[in-house]
């Protein structure tokens, strides 16, 4: 929709004083989807020219401006078994259609900080580290799981920018399992749970999103038993802490999450099926 109060769009490459009423424009798919009467100027990230996806010795660097469509087309180097099919599974967890993927950015989804943001699910589950640029040029890094602090809340300061998310190699070499539940077929996530089993050290990590206001992460040095996983989950998300909005009643979300967690545990603790055996 038209944003009637916006009177100016400036290229983010031009260094200008940050003003109240400024907002970064990524893909625009959120900004233009709701009235934004507090915004006066859009600071356009569209021409930053950041490489959308960079394979480095440390892992995969996803620029904040990488579109969902670009991420979905990523072909992983050999050994990064976490990428496929998890990237596609997460992209498909968008309520939005593939047409929106052509515009929506990974950074935009993370910065919206919604419980059901699938790029948060993906990057939090793969140990993503966010790189933030402050207006004064300062850089700080923190895990995506800590970047999001609540429903729509994140640690970004005024004028601070999410530059990129780095997924470390060890996480990309892991085996993953994915479950998503929704009120509707192909609908918005009510619970999205990802398990990661690291073949290098044998550890097991569970990342819960959508059913909790912010990502919940559980780490085990070795895959837990069913009861152990369940107890850890119930301790991490006490009654009353399950997310409550129109996309699902909290009790049901809790049930789905516990069920998915156990299914994921079972899946990741059985031997993987070698390609060709399926």
């Amino acid at each position: 929709m038209d944003l009637g109060t916006v009177t100016q769009m400036r290229d983010a490459r031009r260094r200008e004083q940050w003003r109240p009423g400024d907002a970064y424009l990524g893909g625009g798919t959120y900004l233009f989807s709701e009235p934004q009467p507090h915004i006066r100027r859009l600071v356009d990230l569209g021409s930053m020219g950041w490489e959308p996806l960079e394979v480095t010795p440390d892992g995969l660097v996803i620029a904040a401006t990488c579109t969902v469509a670009q991420l979905n087309r990523f072909t992983a180097p050999p050994g990064w078994q976490a990428c496929h099919p998890l990237i596609e599974q997460c992209c498909r967890s968008f309520l939005a259609s593939f047409k929106i993927w052509n515009m929506a950015t990974v950074g935009g989804n993370i910065c919206n900080a919604l419980p059901a943001g699938p790029m948060i699910s993906l990057t939090a589950a793969l140990e993503g580290e966010a790189t933030l640029l402050a207006l004064d040029g300062g850089v700080r890094r923190l895990p995506v799981a800590e970047f999001v602090t609540g429903n729509g809340r994140k640690v970004l300061r005024e004028g601070e920018l999410l530059r990129s998310v780095t997924l470390p190699t060890y996480a990309l070499r892991s085996r993953t399992a994915f479950r998503q539940g929704s009120l509707h077929r192909l609908g918005r996530s009510a619970a999205l749970v990802i398990g990661r089993h690291d073949p290098a050290d044998g550890s097991f990590t569970l990342t819960v999103t959508a059913s909790t206001p912010r990502p919940v992460r559980l780490w085990f040095p070795l895959p837990p038993a069913a009861a152990q996983l369940r107890a850890a989950l119930e301790q991490a998300v006490p009654p009353g802490a399950w997310f409550d909005d129109i996309y699902g009643l909290p009790e049901w979300r809790r049930h789905l999450t516990l069920r998915f967690a156990e299914e994921i545990r079972a899946e990741l603790t059985t031997a993987p099926v070698a390609p060709g055996e399926e």
């Binding site: 929709m1 009177t7 929106i100």
Partner: protein, 914 residues
């Protein structure tokens, strides 16, 4: 900024915050539609450098130096249609057509992988009319339309006249007009559920550059009216002012700002300062009826509110026989309370109107033209004239093609304020609702609470049925009484039962008003009745369809509601037994549908319903057919086309009677200039009322043309017959063109009028059956098979009628499974977007097998009956009955969302917690 659109170069500067959608429309590309303006519905899909995007989210400035293709540019330059356009035309993959441009542009961008997974490919495209089957056929290249042949039109799949315009983006909907000097109107809405406006200061709003006027209750007439449109205005209470000094729900109009741009009008709204005195409020209808509840409309008798002090706007009490005695004679009894939720029509085109002047309004021949997204142009003109003391000839109301209605546009929700603004500024004014305004500033379906008690004897006969019904009409009573009364009519009358009683109340609350909605109260009550019929059958250990068969009225029986018999209502044809038979056959058939997943519970259930083929008290249509200089005909009808397909049927009727082909009949419609009167396109009357007027006009013209031809040639009238483009008289062919000339020379016009007053009326029947699988681990309901039987009398156009049924079933599935307008504790709507109010998508919607009964009605034109509202009505109980059959749990509250179903199963020990 330079860009190329559909191969043409443009050099225009967008505003910084402008999206591509409005920028393209500003350049004249009206094929780009606004359904939601939030990226959810896909109606605005265009290609940018070949990639499909939702143009409502695309920053216009990013289109710099790019190539944009809209639906208008989809076809290759050689004049042929794009294959996708041809597909949508051949399958008639549209009804109102408002979403069609988006579907075309999306389909054209699908690769083979995406085409193989249409549920996912169409995640971002919503259609409210079709139920998606016709869209799938369009994508898959299935052809349904037939070629016209002279005189043979009824019962054939002739295409919608507007099809070529719809698929090329050239059909003109309400807002697809460019008006010079147009002002834009925006509404400031109440943040309080109930408040008195102590003062409004408009000074700061008027200071906003571009703001031309700010209207408040000081500017509005004192006169009270109802937004509801009925042939007889006294059916609704006069409880509404254009702008009131008391607001009664969160979202009610407080002031209107008129400005050069929407942005300036919005800024003006933010700067109006209002001093509210908050008043006590009530949002629950039962509480609203209790002594001491806040009185929402303390008004006198002239407002026609049944009991204003008790917040009861309308009530009905009736009993035939003696229900208590009937319960005493019953062997089994069942008593339960059912609840239906608030549902929004969600037509893809929002409400809105554009008003402008023809000539100097103060001069004798000057007048005001109102182009509106309405189902009732004539009634709206009448209401505007009454409201502003204008003679009818000073106002013309026109509807373009309307982008869906479903009853929501049987209201005057915008025209009153647009006309006030136009009269005040003497400038053209437009108000186009946003999608959120549709949810909190329009109307919803009436939420009902229905307490039923019913009893039957051991031999499977209904003995007694009693209902107490409370409908929540919201803050205003538009349609409140009439919806309640209709809900208590055919729902009872379809069953033979010696004792029937109803106590019904339509109640004011401080919430968004409810209004007319497809089914008009019947669907809510049918949900309760058909659920209870299912329970009674189970208690009697009878097959529910057999139990129904024993109790439905026969073809020669009276239709008795607790209020008695409606004098002008007749069973003009009877397909009810056949509908029941269709369901029984489907149940008996071996499963050939999808197999249920392991661990899922499987069940089946059905429901039936009856509906009158028009509203009580008369429904008027005038039609006129005129022979044209080229030998074709022009048919004028008042009724609007919003995807219901009546225009197709009217043209078929005329062509059939005149012995010609449909392509020789052009249509003028939905314009107060074209005929004397038309009550409107509501109450399932498009085919049976306006169609009957069309039939009469066409028959009269055929007679006139034959008389004239016989006289002209000096031959016997009996030797003359109508042909495609001529009259054939004793073997001689006189072209109609020649007859037109001859008539003109003789100073005669070959034209005829037809009229129908909408009475007597017949009844139509429907039955729905589902087989479902239910996952006790998640609450998911999967529909394995869906069968619908419809008694529409003589089906005028099977392709279209099937589409009406499929669309009705899909819309009803939305209301059964997911849709709910949620309000908070202050009555404020919290689901004011499609991402929060889930419409059935392609992925959600099963295919429904549609069976028509071989009936022919004695009352309807050429044997036809209505089939537009009614397919909706049996869907919710059929699904709830199937769910009951699968799980053993009776669900009594809609919608049946996965979370609620799972909780219900858990609470009954059917599902286990993880």
């Amino acid at each position: 900024m330079r860009l190329r659109v559909n191969g043409r170069e443009f050099d225009e500067e967008p505003r910084a915050g402008q999206c591509l959608r409005t920028f393209l429309r500003g350049l004249g590309w009206f094929g780009v539609k606004k359904g939601c303006d939030a990226g959810d519905c896909g109606a605005c899909t265009v290609h940018v450098d070949g990639e499909p995007v939702h143009s409502c989210l695309y920053p216009a400035l990013r289109a710099r130096d790019r190539a944009v293709t809209t639906v208008e540019g989809l076809a290759p330059a050689d004049g042929e249609l794009h294959r996708v356009q041809r597909g949508f035309l051949d399958a008639q993959g549209f009804q109102c057509g408002f979403c069609t441009a988006g579907f075309l542009m999306t389909t054209a961008a699908l690769d083979d992988d995406k085409r193989a997974d249409l549920p996912r490919a169409f995640k971002g495209n919503l259609c409210r009319c079709t139920g998606y089957r016709a869209i799938e056929d369009a994508v898959r290249g299935v052809k349904h339309t037939e070629e016209p042949a002279p005189g043979e039109s009824v019962g054939r799949n002739l295409p919608a006249p507007a099809g070529p315009q719809v698929v090329t983006g050239t059909a003109r909907y309400t807002f697809d007009v460019a008006v010079d000097g147009l002002l834009h109107l925006k509404i400031l809405r109440s943040p309080h559920p109930h408040a008195r406006i102590r003062a409004i200061d408009t000074t700061r709003a008027l200071a906003v550059p571009g703001v031309r006027a700010v209207l408040t209750h000081h500017d509005a007439p004192e006169r009270l009216f109802s937004t509801a449109r009925h042939e007889h205005p006294e059916e609704d209470p006069d409880d509404t002012r254009v702008l009131d000094d008391v607001v009664r729900y969160v979202g009610q109009r407080v002031a209107a700002v008129v400005a050069d741009s929407e942005a300036a009008a919005e800024e003006g709204c933010r700067r109006v300062e209002v001093d509210y005195e908050e008043l006590p409020y009530v949002i629950d209808p039962e509480e609203a009826m209790r002594p001491g509840a806040p009185v929402i409309h303390p008004k006198g008798d002239e407002a026609r509110i049944a009991r204003p002090q008790d917040n009861v706007v309308g009530e009905t009490h009736g009993e035939v026989g003696d229900v208590e005695a009937g319960f005493a004679q019953s062997d089994v009894l069942h008593e339960q309370t059912f609840r239906t939720q608030r549902v929004q029509h969600a037509s893809l085109e929002t409400h809105g109107a554009v008003a402008w002047f023809e000539g100097d309004f103060d001069a004798p021949d000057g007048r005001l033209v109102v182009r509106s997204s309405t189902q009732t142009p004539f009634l709206t003109r009448r209401a505007l004239c009454t409201l502003y003391d204008l003679p009818q000839e000073k106002v013309r109301v026109v509807a373009g093609r309307v982008g869906g209605g479903f009853g929501g546009k049987q209201e005057m929700l915008v025209e009153d304020i647009v006309v006030l603004a136009a009269l005040r500024t003497r400038r053209p004014v437009k108000l186009e609702y946003t999608r959120p305004e549709q949810f909190f500033g329009a109307t919803t379906r009436h939420p009902f609470t229905i307490e039923v008690k019913a009893g039957a004897s051991r031999d499977g006969l209904l003995k007694s049925m009693r209902m107490r019904i409370v409908s929540n009409t919201g803050a205003y009573g538009n349609h409140g009484p009439a919806v309640l009364f209709h809900g208590c009519g055919e729902s009872f009358a379809v069953y033979r039962c010696p004792n029937k009683k109803v106590d019904g109340y339509a109640v004011y609350t401080n919430t968004v008003p409810a209004g007319a909605f497809r089914g008009y109260g019947l669907g809510q009550v049918v949900f309760a009745v058909e659920s209870v019929m299912d329970e009674l059958a189970r208690r009697l250990d009878l097959d529910p369809m057999e139990f129904r068969r024993r109790n439905i009225i026969a073809a020669d029986e009276e239709m008795i509601a607790p209020g008695g018999v409606e004098e002008d209502l007749h069973i003009g044809s009877y397909g009810l037994d056949t509908c029941v038979e269709v369901v029984r056959r489907a149940i008996a058939e071996p499963d050939h549908g999808e197999a249920p997943p392991d661990g899922w519970l499987v069940g089946q259930g059905a429901a039936l319903s009856m509906i009158a083929t028009g509203p009580p008290g008369g429904h008027i249509a005038d039609a006129r057919v005129v022979l044209q200089p080229d030998g074709g005909y022009e048919l004028s009808v008042g009724t609007a086309e919003f995807g219901n397909g009546t225009t197709t049927v009217h043209r078929q009727i005329a062509a059939g009677e005149l012995g010609t082909t449909v392509d020789r009949v052009t249509i003028r419609q939905s314009d107060t200039d074209v005929v004397r009167h038309d009550t409107g396109a509501f109450g399932s009357t498009g085919t049976v009322v306006a169609g009957k007027a069309t039939l009469r006009a066409s028959q009269a013209l055929a007679a006139l043309v034959l008389d004239f031809a016989a006289q002209h040639l000096g031959v016997a009238r009996e030797s003359c017959a109508m042909a495609e483009d001529a009259v054939v008289c004793a073997g001689r062919r006189v072209p109609l063109k020649e007859l037109y000339e001859a008539a003109r020379t003789a100073d005669r016009e070959l034209a005829a009028d037809g009229h129908f007053g909408g009475t007597p009326r017949s009844v139509a029947f429907n039955a729905q059956w589902f087989r479902v699988a239910v996952d006790p681990a998640s609450g998911e309901i999967r529909i394995l098979r869906s069968v619908h039987a419809a008694d529409a009398g003589q089906v005028m156009n099977p392709m279209q009628c099937r589409g009406q049924v499929e669309g009705g079933v899909a819309q009803a599935l939305g209301a059964t499974l997911f849709e709910e307008v949620v309000v908070d504790e202050r009555g404020a709507v919290t689901t004011a977007a499609f991402r929060r109010y889930h419409l059935p998508t392609y992925a959600d919607t099963p295919r429904t097998e549609v069976h028509f009964t071989p009936t022919r009605d004695a009352i309807g034109p050429l044997g036809a009956k209505s089939m537009s509202e009614s397919p909706f009505n049996p869907v919710a109980p059929a699904l709830a009955n199937a769910l009951r059959d699968a799980t053993g749990v009776r669900f009594t509250r809609l919608p049946l969302t996965r979370d609620r179903v799972w909780l219900g199963l858990r609470d009954h020990g059917v599902a286990r917690e993880a």
